[in-house]
């Protein structure tokens, strides 16, 4: 019997033994859950547009059909107000998205500038080292 205290060490040894015997050569690293959301400016702009679907208005009650109809009628009756609210929200969202996009572009530019300056600094350091006078000691 393997005691619970020794199980981990035994498992590690077994992996080594099997690997030496040619097992566990499997590379499963490529099998992964791909990101569902890839945030691009285009995606953000798409999400920024507020356009609710009236089909999502419903009642969760067992006999909720008349309640659903009532809720949808209310929304229809107030569509002018809601249109205005969605418009304001959409405008704000688009501005924020564009603002974020400008920042992202600016960060990229600065990163490139930093990389360019670092390279220049390295070259300068190397050339300074090459021309250092010999140590008198």
């Amino acid at each position: 019997m393997t005691s619970p205290e020794l199980a981990l060490e035994r498992a590690r040894q077994e992996v080594v033994r099997r690997r030496d015997a040619g097992e566990y050569a499997d590379d499963l690293g490529g099998f992964r859950i791909e990101p569902v959301v890839e945030l691009t400016t285009e995606k953000l702009l798409e999400w920024a547009l507020i356009e609710p679907d009236i089909e999502r208005v419903y009642s969760t009650r067992r006999w909720g059909r008349p309640i659903t109809a009532f809720k949808r009628a209310l929304i229809w009756a107030t569509r002018q107000y809601h249109g205005q609210v969605y418009g304001e929200q959409t405008r704000f969202n688009h501005h924020v998205t564009i603002y974020a996009g400008q920042y992202r572009d600016r960060v990229r530019e600065l990163e490139q500038e930093v990389a360019r300056l670092s390279g220049r600094l390295d070259r300068l350091e190397r050339s300074t080292r090459d021309h250092d006078p010999p140590d008198p000691a």
Binding site: P4, E5, A7, L8, A11, V36, T60
Partner: protein, 348 residues
């Protein structure tokens, strides 16, 4: 004694709501009064939890905050002069969600950032495990305690005898979310099938983060072990218990756990556990589970699974230790700790 429980949200299948209702049952048993209120109410709630706007707290009433998500409405209540107890339900770090559900990521990020404000404003801050409580201390809580999740074994059926004359069956219970690492479970299981038991089966049970995330997990399962994995959500309790009875081992490779109730459920059903030593897991499992380090390669978890399934004496020893572990999480013991925590505040 009057205790009001305050939740950021309440829903019929929400674990935090379930815990609050269990607390309320105990409060009723002890003759305490008060109400349960939530900032957001799922329309399917049956009226047991009221909207937060209905809260009327007398000067000496104790406010018990269940903190599990960002909630600006709850924050405002921290200003009240009443005695306050915080029960922190461990918010998952946001980085797990950015690639899959950014809105949840934002909620987690703000929720974790807001934790110090809650921890510092209450008279006593409680975590569900020592790991969780350490987070509260780091967040600046003055007084802390551990209030483990109440585990009521009476609602579980007897373990029953496992049928070993069938392909090895592995169970993984927990929400399908990135931090629970069902992808690692699938990879470890695929290795187990390739190197030990080609006919092995895996049962993944848990609510998915989103339908899209569930589809992605299913796709990965089909690639790694076609036809050998079942994924089930929204299971009735009786069906979940039946899955435990069918299991030869429970695996959890989660990277972030405040407590991990499935460990205790597995101990109850006598199912050996292989788990990643993350968060509160080592504390809850103690010596009753086979734990792998966080950075351990998956093949080691696979070998531990093989041992846990094939070594009958090891299984028996793990079962024995699991039963002993359950004694530490006896329902009445947990209830008594809760009572003492609440009464310590009312006595001040």
């Amino acid at each position: 004694m009057i205790v009001h429980q305050l939740l950021s949200g309440a829903g019929p299948v929400d674990a935090v709501t379930g815990q609050a209702r269990q607390f309320r049952d105990l409060f009723d048993r002890w003759g305490w009064r008060g109400g349960d209120f939530a900032a957001y109410l799922d329309p399917r709630m049956d009226g047991a939890v009221a909207p937060l706007s209905g809260l009327v707290a007398g000067p000496g009433d104790l406010l018990l905050f269940h903190y599990s998500a960002y909630s600006p409405k709850l924050t405002a209540l921290l200003e009240l002069p009443n005695p306050k107890l915080l029960v922190s339900h461990n918010i998952t770090p946001a980085h797990y969600f950015w690639d899959h559900e950014p809105t949840i990521a934002i909620n987690c990020a703000i929720g974790r950032a807001q934790l110090p404000q809650f921890a510092q404003a209450v008279d006593l801050a409680a975590g569900v495990s020592e790991y969780n409580t350490a987070e509260l201390r780091n967040a600046g809580a003055r007084h802390t305690t551990v209030l483990p999740i109440l585990f009521d074994r009476d609602r579980l059926p007897a373990p029953g005898e496992a049928d070993r004359a069938r392909p090895p069956t592995i169970l993984c219970v927990g929400r399908l979310t990135p931090h629970k690492r069902q992808d690692d479970v699938l990879r470890a299981f695929a290795l187990y099938r390739r190197h030990h038991a080609p006919d092995a089966r895996l049962m993944l049970v848990g609510e998915p983060l989103t339908p899209r995330y569930e589809a992605a997990v299913r796709e990965l399962a089909d690639e790694l072990a076609p036809g050998a994995v079942t994924i089930e959500s929204n299971l009735a309790a009786a069906k979940l218990w039946e899955r435990y009875r069918r299991a030869d081992a429970l695996i959890s490779l989660s990277e972030h756990e405040g407590f991990c109730i499935p460990l205790l459920e597995a101990f109850h059903f006598g199912v050996p556990v292989v788990a990643r030593a993350a968060g509160g897991v080592p504390e809850v499992a103690a010596d009753a589970a086979l734990l792998v380090d966080l950075d351990e390669e998956l093949a080691v978890a696979t070998e531990l699974l093989a041992l846990a399934i094939s070594d009958d004496e090891l299984r028996a020893e793990l079962r024995r230790r699991g039963r002993a572990r359950l004694a530490d999480y006896e329902f009445e013991r947990g209830a008594q700790r809760l009572r003492e925590a609440v009464e310590s505040l009312s006595a001040e």
